[in-house]
Amino acid sequence: MADLTTEFVGIKSPNPFWLASAPPTDKEYNVRRAFDAGWGGVVWKTLGLDPHVVNVNGPRYGVLHGGDRRVMGINNIELITDRPLETNLREIKAVKRDYPDRAMIVSLMVPCEEWAWKEILPKVEETGADGIELNFGCPHGMSERGMGSAVGQVPEYIEMVTRWCKQNTRMPVIVKLTPNIADIRKPARAAHAGGADAVSLINTINSITSVDLDQMAPEPTIDGKGTHGGYCGPAVKPIALNMVSEIARDPETAHLPISGIGGVSTWRDVAEFLALGAGTVQVCTAAMTYGFKIVEEMAAGLSEWMDAKGYASIDEVTGRAIPNVTDWQYLNLNYVTKARIDQDACIKCGRCYAACEDTSHQAIAMKPGRVFEVIDEECVACNLCVNVCPVEDCITMEELPTGQTDPRTGKVVAGEYANWTSHPNNPAAKAAE
């Protein structure tokens, strides 16, 4: 049995599944239920200074549904905790006392002034919490007050606040990053420079999920008006995975621990975040959609997969795919594939045909009897047909062996690797002539 225990910036937890700072970790009642359900750790809902903020009293979520009302993405206009600081601290202390083996991280967001951090850090320390997470991510409400992503978008502030925290507490400091920025490596480097023990990402993405066409207002709509909110859930996973990998393969932050967040819903999502460099993952939307029980599937699935692959511990998985994440210019242009349609598996829906004929390269022939065949002379190997085919593995991409002629280009497939940097069409090519 694979060992799922983790030690992340010195914080131990029985598994890498943490709940992200959000409604699931808003108060004692929820967190106890989460721990009883098997979650390895929580990042407590972000605390601020008193007087505590207030939330809207109308709807705070918008949603993007897939078929059968499957939740693909949620956005929210919730703020940080709307309860008094003392209440939260008392509850954190009580829970940590009763669940000493679980990771208890406290998320914080106070004004960008050192006195504020100096004031709150000792109070958090006193609860026995294992670490803190700096919320530089919240894209709505708090940012307008100069906190959250307003700080997270300015690397200098990140570095400064991180340094204050490192100077004022013995607890490990995790810096939570906002994705609402052009280059995620900049804030990560700033956190690193400020002495952060780790980064966590992503927080939510600025968004409007939908427009109420009767009221002519964005949703969620509060008395006829709406505002942008933070987007999360399965729909944001691709963005999160990329950002995690960017940090993991940036030489400046290569060994900075990462807690991966954004759309984690199943064991496979967890494995993917780990492979791209995360040491733990955090979950919010999936728990909000299905409840805490999903952690059972994650734990069973991850350990089964690790056993099958021969990975004994989480450490062995973390960053495993990073050597294979590269830049476009280094991709092998001599790797040639063609789409292949398995006629026995084909159900003749013709979606590959519509996709290729209308929007790609006219490389699929529709023959009598609704037989669909790839025309190698035209196929550029884009993969679109594979993606739109409703039958798994019906269309696959087959590599042309070295020495064979690609009927599209008339060129013989070369055995050696060659990329854009040396391609004759590249004006900047460093050709070896």
């Binding site: 078929g67 059968d68 159900i347 003749k348 829906c349 013709g350 979606r351 519509a354 529709m366």
Partner: protein
């Protein structure tokens, strides 16, 4: 109540009211909004979709399903009605398992097609329940056209002609319009008087004058019609019924299944409709199944359907056969009636087993008898009342192209015309196409 399924003879009220009501309620209840959304989501929006090809009226199925999934039920209904003005009835009665749903790629993929019929019902109901008619008439053309037979073929033809701006007179020998929609289709497929509601809704197009109780051949001749009208369409269905040709066929309580069904469809109180304790139905088509199933649903203790060939040759679809079996109808195949016994009324029917030989069906010599208070004959309908001199093939009116008969100015479609399956949807397609052809010819 004193009668039960075991009461001997032919009596009414074998079942309590509540059981009758549930027995004859909707076979495929309507979807609610969410069910429809989930069902619609399964459609792959195939390229040049095979379901469309499989539909005799060629409804753009992927398009209407996509319209449902985007919350536009009424737009979906319009997509359907543009091709098939009786899309509401077809949604209820089409043997989709042999048509669109059989062609659905998800049938090939997982044996579970998109439920096209029920989705079509969902869409069409949305407009019809609000009693909204989606079409308006074109500018008047001054042409007058006679349509004979107000079944699906005649109705579809009349509607399309009216839409084009022609004036239509729709004749039918019966007292109600609708044809077999009103007098034939099983009750549980079209409860709540849907057939008449649909006719009324369809007539909202305007320009269609309905003349009931007018029979072609009785005071109404084809010559008069061709003289007085610019064109004539015949959609007179199959008014005749084939005989058993077995001795004793003339005994009492030996009836044509279609008459029994018509009586049933017109009965307002099913608890007053008498049915035998033992019922035998001869035949293997939709009529036989409907007669047998409805006998059972009325409370007959024992209903047996006997067909002379094997199951695979039955005209009733596998779905219909299974439906009959699930309602408790016993199906005997490879047996044909040889005599009807009884003193005045039928008491027993004698059958002989058959087998498939090199020259077709052969009797085996082995016989058996079934007790019968009633015997329903459902061995096929045939054309009756076709105008003299009109060319026929295989007993039906010969047509070329979109329903042109051998007689100048006369078109035909539906069951009475040769070619095509005897289905509601085929009748609609043929009526519609004949209308288009008439229009093209009249307007040159």
């Amino acid at each position: 109540m004193t009668q039960s399924e075991l009461t001997p003879g032919i009596v009414s009220g074998r079942l309590p009211e509540d059981r009758l009501e549930s027995n004859f309620s909707d076979l495929h209840p309507a979807y609610d909004e969410h069910e429809a959304a989930v069902a619609a989501d399964r459609c792959y929006f195939c390229y040049d979709a095979p379901c469309v090809t499989a539909c005799p009226t060629e409804i753009d199925i992927p398009l209407f399903i996509r319209q449902i999934s985007t919350g536009m039920d009424e737009a979906a209904a319009k997509t359907i009605f543009e091709q098939n003005i009786l899309g509401g009835m077809c949604a209820r009665v089409c043997p989709t398992e042999n048509l669109c749903e059989q062609a659905c790629v998800r049938e090939a993929a997982e044996g579970k097609p998109v439920e096209i019929g029920r989705l079509q019902r969902h869409a069409t109901d949305s407009l019809m329940e609000r009693n909204v008619h989606p079409f308006t008439r074109g500018a008047p053309t001054g042409k007058r056209i006679a349509v004979v037979g107000a079944g699906p073929a005649g109705l579809a033809c009349a509607h399309r002609l009216a839409m084009k701006g022609h004036d239509v007179v729709l004749f039918d020998s019966r007292s109600k319009a609708g044809g077999l929609n009103e007098f034939g289709i099983a009750s549980y497929k079209t409860p709540n008087d849907f057939a008449q509601a649909e006719v009324d809704w369809l007539l909202q197009i305007g320009g269609i004058e309905v003349e009931l109780g007018k029979r072609l051949g009785e005071g109404l001749s084809i010559e008069d019609l061709t003289d007085q009208y610019d064109a004539v369409f015949l959609g007179i269905g199959l008014a005749g019924v084939n005989a058993l040709r077995a001795p004793g066929e003339d005994k009492e309580e030996v009836r044509d299944a279609v008459n029994f069904i018509a009586e049933l469809r017109q009965t307002s109180d099913l608890s007053m409709l008498p049915i035998g304790r033992h019922v035998v139905v001869v035949g293997g088509g939709m009529t036989a199944v409907d007669a047998a199933v409805q006998s059972k649903l009325l409370g007959a203790e024992e209903v047996t359907m006997v067909y002379r060939r094997g199951r695979d040759r039955m005209a009733a679809s596998v779905f219909e056969q299974d439906l009959a079996a699930s309602k408790g109808v016993r199906i005997i195949t490879h047996a044909q009636p040889v005599a009807v016994h009884g003193n005045g009324s039928v008491r027993e029917v004698e059958f002989e087993y058959t087998k498939d030989g090199p020259n077709g069906l052969e009797p085996t010599g082995e016989t058996f008898r079934l007790a019968a208070d009633q015997l329903f004959k459902a061995i096929g309908q045939r054309l009756e009342g076709a105008p003299a001199g009109m060319m026929l093939s295989d007993g039906k009116i010969t047509v070329t192209g979109a329903g042109r008969t051998s007689v100048e100015k006369v078109w035909a479609g539906g069951d009475c015309a040769a070619g095509g399956d005897d289905l509601t949807v085929t009748a609609v397609a043929e009526g519609r196409d004949a209308a288009e052809d008439i229009h093209a010819q009249l307007m040159g």
